[in-house]
Symmetry: C2
Subunit: 334 residues, 2 copies
């Protein structure tokens, strides 16, 4: 494997000239630079990542920290992985997968103290997330993909779930729905930020609009959707529309309703929060309010890289709207 010295020798310059030709941190004559690049191409030279990391300030590696979960990741969530990786690559960084058992904050110190990474993207931020304190103490650069309860002063990118909730509810109310069921994950108590914010805003908006809002919660599974429909049928309330914050449950809910002879959307409207492209595959295609995953992740990566490379901070607290995509699972009663 060729080294910097090999390139320098072939180009007839010193090793430091090669470095400066690559980094551009000192002026190099066009002619010399071209000779250096030619030599690099000829030798198929790529700087050694470890030597760079040791000598320089920048390591070229970002970590993606996320808590392990039994339910796996939905297509939506995998897109966070993929878009983060891609965004990092485009900026010249590698992305390290860094899962941790949800409660195991201790294991978080390992990677940090190895000094392997320039910064961390923190996913699945909890309402009261111990990782934030830890990273602050340790002086680790990090960007939250999500928010804790008091994110002011931190660097974060998140969906504006209050706005999304308002959008979703208003959409239904505008179409004449007055009795609405909310199906969410049972993680409000554990402080799941999106759920907390969504539920809070839904309840507030419901009061404001004077509509009734019932609630059913369960884990992120088909089964939860089916159970939610059973609950609805048993309760005997005149619910005309459901907001389901849970991609798998959305499918289960619709199927259970259909099997009971209920037509979606003729008899029952369904609006999903957080379901991705696969919503178009369901019968009927599901109307959704969904976070702009790619934009969120790209922004987070860009902000982290900006901090690593010492760019002046342009923005550190970003909230993005989740657009509503009409697909036909909501009926207009008005």
């Amino acid at each position: 494997m060729a080294t910097r010295d090999d390139v320098a020798r072939l180009a007839g310059v010193s090793a430091s000239t090669v470095s400066y030709a690559i980094s551009g941190r000192r002026s190099i004559s066009a002619e010399t630079r071209e000779r250096v690049f030619a030599a690099m191409r000829e030798l198929d030279y790529t700087p050694n990542a470890f030597a760079r990391g040791l000598a320089g300030a920048r390591k070229g590696i970002l970590a993606l920290n996320y808590p392990l979960r039994d339910e796996g990741w939905s297509p939506m969530e995998v897109r966070y992985f993929e878009t983060a990786t891609q965004a990092a690559h485009e900026l010249g960084f590698q992305l390290l997968l860094w899962p941790n058992a949800a409660d195991d904050v201790a294991s978080l110190t390992d990677l940090v103290s190895q000094q392997l990474v320039d910064g961390v993207i923190v996913m699945e931020v909890q309402w009261d997330d111990p990782r934030i304190e830890l990273f602050k103490e340790r002086g680790v650069r990090f960007v939250l993909l999500g928010r804790n309860s008091a994110p002011s002063g931190l660097t974060y990118v998140d969906t504006d779930f209050r706005e999304s909730a308002r959008t979703a509810l208003e959409y239904l109310v505008d179409r004449g729905h007055r009795e609405i069921l909310f199906v969410g994950e049972d993680r409000v108590e554990q402080g799941h930020g999106p759920m907390v914010r969504t539920l809070t805003e839904l309840e507030a908006s419901a009061r404001r609009f004077g509509v009734s809002l019932d609630r059913f919660a369960g884990p992120r599974t088909y089964g939860t959707g089916r159970a939610a429909y059973r609950y609805l049928a048993a309760s005997g309330t005149p619910v005309t529309a459901a907001i389901v914050f849970n991609d798998q449950a959305t499918v289960g809910f619709i199927n259970a309703a259909q099997l009971a002879g209920i037509s979606v959307p003729d008899d029952l409207s369904v609006l999903s929060i957080g379901m991705g492209e696969e919503a178009a595959e369901v019968d009927p295609p599901v109307t959704t309010v969904t976070p702009p995953v790619a934009a969120l992740t790209e922004t987070a990566v860009r902000m982290l890289v900006g901090a690593v490379e010492g760019h002046p901070v342009t923005q550190s607290e970003v909230l993005m709207d989740a657009p509503l995509v009409e697909r036909g699972s909501v009926r207009d009663l008005s």
Copy 2:
């Protein structure tokens, strides 16, 4: 951040003694070792990953290479990520996410020439996979999670899909089914190993058993399942059981059948290949033949790490059986 020299000074030994105390590659008296460890604890010392990678042969990083796909990853597939990461951590390695556009072999060289990783775990191995040649040429250590058409001599871990297919078909035939539909992904032509092996064996077994085997193919979506059922209904063939190699399609298929008033399993039996734990969530719970993801991945990681650390090769070609889990979506006609 404390360095090796700090530890040495505090422990009153030389720097190299600290290294040998950590690595154990030369004998150190118990007393000295204890002093060194005490100093490490006091200074909260962790060796710098970049210095290790530069000085030593081992870099401590493995890469997980997988082609990008639009459909995302099912819970099953995400488990590959998770179990691989965990297995790597347990052996003292970090795991780097390394996706590449499916046809973009050129981009594969980047990571390799940076010499950032000790080895690569190659996922989603195609029947004729260009990555294998590339890695061989470049002298990159790799383990296949899957197989190409001629894997002999390579290091791989894969599910024995021929055996799985035989198991699945025999299970149905034993229960009196003679007309069977196979729903798979439309990737046979593109050389998707599991599909090729499964389909080949299914057809052979069907001939052997003298049963009829129809086939429907589509991408990995709910919609494919629904389309498969429509195809089945339209064809008018007396199919009594379906084998669905496609987790999302399994759900779509069952739902479409149920909506058409067909009971699963009373009127139609369904057996899924490759569906994970979420099969238990469907109504009815789905009987599956599913690869042992955790065992496969762990073995692959262990083999790769073994090679990196120069252990003698104990096994390099591993096939594992996919166990059949009965859950009640298949009826016994006999």
